[in-house]
């Protein structure tokens, strides 16, 4: 098993955070993981992306180069930039709230999630990223939701543990949105 | 027979390599005596520069490190941070401190690093054979200013003490000279005070010592002392610029 996931969007959408959560959760499940951010002036321009690899074997390249198994894209520039990095049959999870377009590729599976609206239903627009992550977890069926919630406390600290229920709901909303 | 004079225990028995008439020897003696009189010699670590006093690590009778050209204040910083209870000093010439090491000396002062710097200003590069220093006077002939320092080309000589006195972390700044016995006594007092500044934990202390270079100035030792008095002191006025004791 090897999952190579790209996460991309505007700075402030919590892209890096969901990447870390997925990597940490993978580690808690005793898999090999890497989390690789974009860095430098690229970050300052307002777009953010990271690559997460979760594998049963030693992780080779932590970068994703035309071999992504999934991509979570939170805005249009991200979809344009990263759809080409997926393998045939790769999963492209699209934030429909902000992306009013379809991918150009037809050999990949596209999933549409109204992440911002679903987050607002929970009363907090900030958890749109978690909605998207929930959709990914449902589709990939690799990492347990429970592991992500454990990772949440590890990554953000005990003082944020009161936010776990809200984030759990967001993950569930995302999962429901892509359930067949 | 009664002993009336003794070489300071702050110096080793290694004979100085300095040229005849050079005042480095006097300044070494003043530093060594000060450390002994303050009772800190055995708890002192010195940093030698690159320049005429490059071999100072052989002369001071305490632990020493030899620094790269201009970097003595940074090396001294590293030592002092490891041994905050020891006395740390750097001994630097004008090429070392005022030219290549201008950055390091400004920042050691600005951090109020609790070290003492002895800055020997003889208005020339001695060891490399008499080239122009940033402290060379306008009109002064050197091997790289054969017609005399040209202000339009090289600017005016830099006044280090005045510059460092503008920095809050410099708690003791004084310029002295070793051209006369009276001035040597004043120099000793200043050097001792500069070490006391460190021992009391006040901050950075520097003593700029106007010194001669008979060899590269092309003068006899006596004439060199006169040249210092007539040419250097008017441009580099003696006196205290900052004193932790007076809140100055």
């Amino acid at each position: 098993m090897e999952q190579k996931v790209i996460m991309a969007g505007f700075g402030g959408q919590g892209i890096m955070a969901i990447g870390k959560l997925l990597a940490y959760a993978g580690m808690l499940e005793n898999r090999n993981v890497t989390w690789m951010p974009s860095y430098g002036p690229e970050m300052r321009g307002g777009t953010a992306n990271c690559a997460v690899v979760v594998s049963d074997d030693e992780v080779g390249s932590p970068l994703i180069s035309r071999d992504g198994t999934a991509a979570i894209v939170m805005n249009l520039p991200s979809m344009t930039k990263f759809e080409k990095e997926l393998v045939t049959g790769g999963k492209l999870i699209i934030n429909k709230s902000l992306i009013d377009a379809k991918p150009t590729r037809t050999d990949i599976d596209a999933y549409y999630v109204n992440a911002n609206e679903l987050a607002m239903e929970l009363g907090n627009a900030k958890v749109a990223n978690m909605v998207m992550l929930g959709a990914y977890l449902e589709l990939a069926k690799t990492i347990e939701t429970e592991s992500v919630l454990q990772a949440f406390v590890k990554v953000f600290g005990e003082e944020k543990s009161h936010l776990v229920p809200l984030n759990k709901e967001a993950l569930i909303k995302g999962a429901e949105a892509v359930k067949a | 027979m009664t002993m009336v004079y003794e070489k300071s225990k702050g110096l080793t028995d290694v004979p100085f390599h300095y040229c005849p008439g050079c005042t480095h020897g006097v300044i070494h003696k003043l530093v060594a005596e000060s450390l002994v009189e303050l009772g800190v010699l055995d708890d002192t670590i010195g940093v030698a520069p690159v320049g005429c006093s490059v071999l100072a690590y052989k002369y001071f009778n305490c632990d020493m490190q030899e620094a790269a050209h201009g970097r003595a204040p940074a090396v001294a910083t590293g030592i002092k941070r490891v041994h905050p209870d020891k006395v740390v000093f750097s001994y630097q010439g004008d090429g070392d401190l005022a030219s290549i090491g201008a950055g390091e000396i400004v920042h050691v002062a600005h951090r109020a690093e609790k070290i003492t710097t002895i800055f020997v200003n003889n208005a020339i590069y001695g060891m490399t054979g008499g080239q122009m220093a940033p402290t060379t006077l306008v009109g002064q002939k050197t091997t790289t200013s054969p017609l005399g320092r040209d202000e339009a080309l090289s600017g005016k000589p830099i006044r280090i003490s005045e510059m460092l006195a503008t920095i809050d972390g410099a708690k003791f700044v004084e310029r002295v000279s070793v051209d006369t016995p009276a001035n040597i006594r004043k120099a000793k007092k200043a050097i001792k005070r500069a070490f006391e500044c460190q021992i009391k934990g006040e901050g950075f202390a520097i003593v700029e010592v106007l010194s001669t270079c008979p060899t590269n100035w092309g003068l006899t030792p006596v004439k060199a002392l006169d040249w210092l008095k007539d040419n250097m002191i008017p441009y580099y006025p003696l006196g205290n610029f900052r004193n932790f004791e007076e809140g100055k």
Binding site: S65 | Q65, V75
Partner: protein, 353 residues
């Protein structure tokens, strides 16, 4: 202790503290700035001192002072900053002061880029400063390995009284992986009776110095250094190697590129090509001897680097002309892709390269 997910740069800081490093002097530069950032918080908590120097030049000279004064001390930077430190590194090597220097390499020359690079191989292994000196040079390829090598590096630095370089790249600095901080194996280290600690009136003064004005004295000093370097060459070579006996193609890569090469190797093996790997963990001393174990099936060696070809010189020296040595490299912050490495493997195995 259980595993934690950590960024490479922060793991370097945590490993240094674990190794008993009490002093850090540095100057920020991308992509290694998280090291001083981490140390500024963690070192004071561990009873140490973090100081942001006015320049890389000052920082390395502070390291020289602190190391000479007997402390475990570290600095870190990235390529252009490491260039500035070369003056200090040669003094430190000459005066035999132990310290650890971390280089998170980026693209060059000059200001280059901030993306990962491996173009400081020459600088790291040939000595970027003046004179005959060597620095023990570790090249980790994962966060766990950088942690282990930083801890080992402090011991080796003290043992040999020599600067130790940790040479990684921006990718390892920025990447997060799971890491475990194991207790270092105990090692017998000599007393630092040479350090400048103040005589206390109990001994002759110690002098930390790299100046020997008499030619004979300097030659004797160099001979002694050379003996030490030979000892390091005999005892400190580290590498990972497998599949050499049967391999048709042998891949040589270190650090980040070794990971990419391993991905390509799997792809090649799926196509039925036998591939071997040599991953130097010490760049100096270089693992020359392992190249002698390459079997008779080998058609060629492929060296993969994020440079225009630097380690390849050492590979050629090690191969002694027995096999053709090919190169796959990227520069400027570009990272070689497994696909391009696979294509080269196929060409070499098929005899078309």
């Amino acid at each position: 202790m259980s595993k934690v997910l950590m960024k490479g740069n922060e793991a370097v800081g945590a490993a240094a503290i674990k190794a008993g490093c009490k002093y850090f002097f540095g100057y920020p530069i991308t992509p290694s700035s998280e090291i001083p950032e981490y140390m500024s918080k963690a070192l004071p908590e561990a009873g140490g001192v973090f100081l942001q120097a006015e320049s890389e030049v000052a920082a390395i000279n502070m390291v020289y002072g602190a190391g000479g004064a007997g402390a475990r001390v570290m600095t870190a930077s990235s390529s252009p900053g490491i260039s500035l430190k070369q003056e200090g590194i040669t003094y430190i090597a000459g005066a035999e002061v132990p310290c650890v220097i971390v280089n998170m390499m980026r693209g060059g020359p000059g200001l280059g880029s901030i993306q990962p690079g491996q173009a400081d191989y020459f600088q790291s292994t040939r000595g970027g400063g003046n004179g005959d000196y060597r620095t023990l040079c570790y090249a980790p390829s994962s966060i766990q390995e950088i942690v282990d090598l930083v801890i080992l590096g402090f011991d080796k630095a003290d043992y040999y009284r020599n600067p130790v370089l940790i040479v990684a790249d921006g990718m390892i600095g920025q990447m997060m992986e799971a890491v475990e901080f194991k207790d270092p194996a105990p090692i017998d280290l000599p007393e630092k009776d040479w350090a400048t600690t103040g005589t206390g009136g109990k001994r002759q003064p110690n002098v930390v110095n790299s100046l020997f004005l008499q030619a004979e004295e300097l030659q004797a000093h160099n001979d002694r250094l050379e003996k030490k370097y030979k000892l390091i060459e005999e005892n400190e070579v580290l590498y990972e190697a497998y599949g050499l006996e049967e391999a048709e193609v042998v891949l040589v890569a270190y650090g980040t590129t070794s990971r990419i090469v391993k991905t390509a190797m799997k792809q090649a093996e799926a196509k039925g090509i036998k591939v071997g790997i040599i991953r130097p963990i010490t760049l100096w001393p270089f693992p020359h001897d392992v190249f002698k174990t390459i079997g008779n099936n080998a058609k060629g060696i492929l060296t993969v680097e994020m440079s225009a070809g630097q380690m390849i010189d050492d590979v050629k020296i090690a191969v002694e002309g027995r096999l053709p040595v090919y190169f796959n490299g990227t520069q400027g912050g570009m990272v070689p892709t497994p696909a391009s490495v696979l294509a080269d493997i196929e060409k070499i195995a098929g005899g078309t390269k």
